[in-house]
Symmetry: C2
Subunit: 456 residues, 2 copies
């Protein structure tokens, strides 16, 4: 028997591909080691959101205490938070597996590797077998990256997966890496009383965003008591006498109860035999894909493994494209994978949001860029919460919106609205065609859209 | 000297009209008794949002206490919250007055009435004078409605304006009226420990929304400990021995420390002499307007007074239309005021949001309506906050979105996105063209858009 599609990995990309393929009447098998839902559900977006959501009252109370409008204390029970998180994740994982089976998908818990084009070798509790497939989709995702001298050791130096499961609140935490993972974990532990120190080799936090975003984010977190070291390179990070000890290249040291290594991720492609099916691996093992997300004839790579965008909703979107490509007979004349407007968020009390391009990306494409900005302090909802730091900026090319980014409390709520506006490349008159409800944080986006723009 | 435009009332509608008129090079005067910013800023949307925003930590903590993930107490200082609110409102009011003056607008603090077409009689500290105007815009707004036997007495029976200024937390509060004002005030005082009883003559809370919204809202608020009496008519409400005493028509009674009358609003048009300029007043004094928001030649009425939509952003939008109509020479051939997709929200811990039509409105227009729904419990962000009650529903006519409404925690964040979707009358394929970031509450809206729909 030959499957229409065999999928390696049941994260957001693989699961979506399987469900879409089954809905399209294709014969589908999906192989996963058992962590249905992938990094996002098990060790990524979802557990961090559960921990941040469950503790959201804390920073709001702290703001009011500073304003002297409230007194009080909140004591979180980390064990109970972890238990609730685990319950939710387990339930969702089981529900996903059930959904896959109920859709008529052959669900295999085991490991898989390619043994030539269209041949997938599966090892599970029942032994080894080979699946024949007209199409193979690699969706095995990524794992935390580490570097020599900085590797998590499971003692005081942890990766995000291990830190998500600690049951004792560290008094102090060093975070190496100023991206989403480090920032979100830092925010969570700061609410439990942990002293946070964050270290980023580049010159600012959130370094994939325009510089103004990361600079303001750093200022706001400093005000909340974080120690921030940007533009400093780490020479070593290890457990010394039970504590995490970080040494900078300039010889200075930091010591804390725990350290989190969160310096990016690498593709989970080792040992998959992708080369046997004609795939090319780049750099740390990223799968090279063409315009149709094909790594070789009949071999697609979606989600983190192709290195395009390491976000769950990007994998989901690529999955839909690939199944539609397969279902339509992989017509080579079909148009390639569209570069959609990609939303991204860093969650927490102080958030970062972007839809569309950065200034650097637009300039690199040869565009003249104009920027218009609104400050959150002018917005009544930001005032109402006492969370007035931050801003929203809009990037314009020839009078059309090409990127929207923001930093501040609650700005993740604007991300889909911003995605629609950038996708449709709104002009001024489009903004005037919509009534923005008053009072909303959305009005800060309206204000940014209507503010006078400056050439970058 | 003849003004191009004289505006009565400096609330959201009047102020916007003045600024737009000045920007268009018109000669403008605006007359207000002194409460620049109107009801919205001084006694409406803004003070309620400041009180709700400042106390938002409380219900979030209560949720976690029920989940046994947190312990703690928060004590709000009502005097300090009131002081912060007053400071912000005063500052914003002064900033608005300054902005009007700096735009070259003649700003008059006083009372005004019409004395025939194009003649406005103004009384201020310097006496009485008459202004000649090519166009007059009435934007005097509305005031809380009251009824015989139920009138606020300033003792235990208060209107929303008076309740917004109390400095002692009542142990118990009866709210008459299940609309936005009553619900928001109830939410605020419940956070301070006040026991809330809400009374609504119609069969559900939020009675301007589809029945399912108000029914679910009632269930969620009951779970939070509110006593809810719907479908019961009030015979009398008065202060008896310092307490508020409510008697239902069936003879049963309720007693509480305070009562809030929040049963709607009436237009502030008494004594304005509108009839002298040819206007027709309807019902409680609403100004009848034509397709161009004209009450008579050269006399416009915008905002609450025309009774179309009692919302600040509706007044703002009407102001822009009217000034554009005046600036273009009031060409009678110009198209009339468009019926824009109107967003509305009820704010608080459990919110209500709508953009576009209700089922009843669509059915009344002769449409076949289909409804698709998603429950918030399936959304990971709702799960993260432990606020899983509520849902989002989408109304479809011939495959196009015509209305979106929602009830639950955080749903006000979706209102502008919903407004855009309804304005553009999205179809299924439009939803697929946008990547919804994961995880966001926005995905619950995506799920509602993509859910199978049922004929109403």
């Amino acid at each position: 028997m030959t499957y229409d599609v065999v999928i390696l990995g049941a994260g957001p990309g693989g699961s979506r591909a399987a469900l879409e393929a089954a809905a399209a009447g294709l014969r589908v098998a999906i192989v996963d080691k058992g962590s249905f839902g992938g990094t996002c559900l098990n060790w990524g977006c979802i557990p961090t959101k559960l921990l941040l959501g469950g503790t959201a009252a804390h920073p709001l109370l702290e703001v009011q205490k500073k304003l002297k409008t409230a007194q009080g204390t909140i004591d979180f029970d980390l064990t109970a938070l972890q238990a609730r998180k685990t319950r939710f994740i387990n339930g969702t994982r089981q529900a996903l597996e059930k959904q896959l089976r109920q859709a008529g998908i052959e669900v295999i818990t085991g490991t898989a590797r390619l043994a030539g084009p269209g041949h997938v070798e599966v090892v599970d509790g029942e032994g080894t077998r080979e699946l024949a497939a007209r199409n193979v989709i690699v969706a095995t995702g990524s794992v935390p990256a580490s570097f020599p001298g900085l590797a998590p050791d499971g003692e005081a130096v942890l990766d995000s997966t291990a830190l998500l499961d600690v049951t004792e609140v560290p008094d102090s935490l060093i975070i190496v890496g100023g991206g989403a993972i480090g920032l979100e974990m830092g925010d969570f532990f700061s609410r439990l009383g942990t002293a946070i120190t964050i270290v980023e080799g580049l010159d600012r936090l959130a370094p994939t965003e325009d510089p103004e975003i990361g600079q303001t984010l750093g200022k706001l977190l400093k005000r909340e008591g974080w120690a921030i070291h940007t533009g400093r390179r780490v020479a070593s990070l290890s457990t010394v006498e039970g504590k995490a000890q970080l040494r900078f290249e300039d010889g200075t040291e930091l010591v804390a109860d725990k350290a989190l290594m969160a310096v990016g991720r690498r593709p989970a492609t080792a040992g998959l035999g992708l080369e046997t099916a004609g795939a090319t691996l780049l750099g740390a093992g990223w799968v090279e894909t063409n315009d149709h997300l094909l790594a070789a004839p009949g071999l697609y790579a979606i989600g983190d493994v192709n290195g395009r965008t390491l976000l769950a909703h990007a994998a989901d979107h690529q999955a839909r494209f690939v199944i539609s490509h397969i279902a339509s007979g992989s017509a080579s004349s079909a148009s390639g994978y569209p570069a959609p407007v990609m939303p991204s968020c860093i969650y927490g009390h102080t958030e970062v949001m972007r839809a569309g391009a950065t200034v650097a990306e637009l300039v690199a494409s040869g565009h003249d860029v104009h920027v218009s900005t609104s400050q959150l302090i002018a917005n009544p909802i930001a005032q109402a919460y006492g969370t007035t730091g931050g801003f929203i900026r809009v990037l314009w090319v020839e009078g059309q919106v090409r990127g929207i980014s923001a930093v501040g409390h609650g700005v993740s709520h604007l991300v889909t609205l911003a995605t629609v506006i950038v996708s449709q490349r709104w002009r001024w008159e489009d903004v005037h065609g919509i009534i923005f409800a008053h009072p909303t944080l959305d009005e800060a986006l309206e204000a940014a859209l209507l503010a006078p723009s400056q050439k970058v």
